[in-house]
């Protein structure tokens, strides 16, 4: 099972990234656990200063941007 974490304190872009990640996970069809991380100390622990960010199995994949569902699908594959 892959763990997908969306880092963001709740800005509109973060919500959008969460939505697209869920859509991508559904489309990819694998076994995914999607978690939203809004606690700032946890966000900062990933070394991230721009939100939103997408983390796949502990590895930061995107920072400060909202990629398309297709792009996210590649990142979580």
């Amino acid at each position: 099972m892959k763990k997908l974490q969306i880092l963001g304190p709740g800005c509109p872009k973060c919500t959008e990234l969460a939505k697209r990640t869920e859509a991508a996970a559904k489309a990819a069809g694998g076994d995914f656990e999607v978690e939203k991380v809004s606690d700032l100390s946890k966000i900062m622990a990933f070394g991230v200063m721009m939100t939103p960010a997408l983390v796949v199995d502990g590895e930061v994949k995107v920072v400060g941007q909202v990629p398309s569902v297709e792009e996210i699908k590649k990142m979580i594959a």
Binding site: K13, M44, A45, G47, M50
Partner: protein, 374 residues
């Protein structure tokens, strides 16, 4: 013997075949490498860049054609003035915006906040204030990221004053505003705006640094430990930078187009219907109180640079003084209510008040100076 010959021949043939195969595989390797480069996209991009100037330089005749030939509005009327203004500025602003946001987007892909933080870490107050203000212009910044950015800076030991110099310069010296001012008014006003914004950020940084505000940051901020920056995010290929620029265009134009049309609409109405020199008494150089009034009026208003500049253009055309108008604009884009709400999470009310106060006073002073020297 025959058999031997046959084998030799076969070996030779095989060698020849391999010899032929060798260059083929090289070509196919090159093809593979090129397959990653989206040629269609690059060609389209190049075509767009080539066509940009011929189109841009013909916008005045275009706006006249729309006004007088398409809408058949008699020349010289208020309506004609307003409509021509609108159809000149809308395409002009959009063309400038797309080009600039793309260019700046590519530039910004080199200046991540992580890199900026690395540069500023360990710098002393005054030098740090100057550098932070400069880096604030080129580092990508969104007010929604202000809090993690603030924490990241504090955690790296960057002084509060230097952090604020960055936080003030980043939204206020806005590349969109800079280029729109350049396109609509020329390089002189663009340069004045740039230096004004930098001066306010640097001075505010110095003042806040002197006020010993460290204890006015919420205590939990100092307890946060930041993880190491993910290294692979720092390296981008050229194509990735192009994509970053294109994404920025999509995102920013998608976000601001409505404000721009609204702003240009308001500008067009002012341009067409407000008499020449009408604002001279109200916002002119003689009216000293107009600068603080403009700043106070602008502080609670919030718009992005793209929406406010067409209004600036119209105000200037009607006799408002440059310093007053720029102060109004900077107060609108530099002090934003949403950002203050976000920063309240990490700053105690006293520091919020100092931040707003110092920036307000800074904008007012610089507005006065420009009215005095221009």
């Amino acid at each position: 013997m025959d058999n031997q010959q046959g084998q030799d021949q076969a070996a030779t043939l095989k060698a020849v075949a391999e010899g032929i195969k060798q260059p083929v595989s090289l070509v196919s390797k090159m093809k593979e490498a090129w397959a990653d480069v989206p040629l269609g996209k690059l060609a389209l991009l190049g075509l767009g860049l080539l066509l940009w100037w011929p189109m841009y330089s013909r916008l005045v005749p275009f706006s006249e054609w729309v006004t007088y030939n398409v809408f058949r509005i008699p020349p010289g009327t208020h309506l004609a003035e307003a409509v021509a203004f609108f159809f000149l500025d809308v395409p002009k602003v959009f063309m400038l915006l797309v080009l600039v946001v793309f260019g700046v987007g590519m530039l910004r892909s080199f200046f991540t906040p992580e890199r900026t933080r690395g540069i500023l870490a360990g710098k002393r107050e005054i030098l740090g204030d100057f550098m932070a203000a400069g880096l604030g212009v080129v580092t990508p910044f969104c007010s929604c990221s202000a809090v993690p950015l603030f924490i990241g800076f504090v955690e790296a030991g960057i002084p509060i004053g230097v952090t604020f110099a960055f936080l003030i310069s980043a939204p206020m010296v806005n590349e969109i505003a800079l280029v729109l001012l350049f396109g609509l008014f020329g390089w002189r006003i663009a340069l004045i705006y740039l230096s004004m914004g930098l001066a306010i950020a640097i001075l505010s940084g110095i003042v806040i640094g002197r006020l010993n505000m460290e204890r006015q940051v919420e205590d939990w901020v100092y307890e946060i430990r930041m993880g190491p920056t993910p290294a692979h995010l720092q390296r981008l290929s050229f194509m990735e930078r192009i994509d970053y620029g294109l994404n920025q265009v999509k995102e920013i134009v998608g976000k601001v187009w409505f404000y721009i049309i609204l702003g240009i609409g308001a500008g067009a109405a002012i341009h067409g219907y407000v008499p020449e020199g009408f604002l001279a008494a109200l916002m002119g150089r003689q009216a000293w109180w107009s600068v603080p009034a403009a700043v106070i009026l602008g502080a609670p208003l919030y718009s992005n640079a793209a929406g406010i500049i067409p209004v600036v253009q119209a105000l200037l055309g009607k006799g408002a003084a440059l310093g007053t108008v720029l102060a109004f604009m900077m107060s609108i884009i530099g002090i934003s209510f949403p950002e203050i709400v976000i920063l309240r999470k990490v700053l105690k009310p006293k520091l919020i008040a100092v931040f707003v106060g110092v920036v307000t006073v800074g904008i007012t002073i610089v507005g006065f100076i420009f009215n005095a020297i221009m």
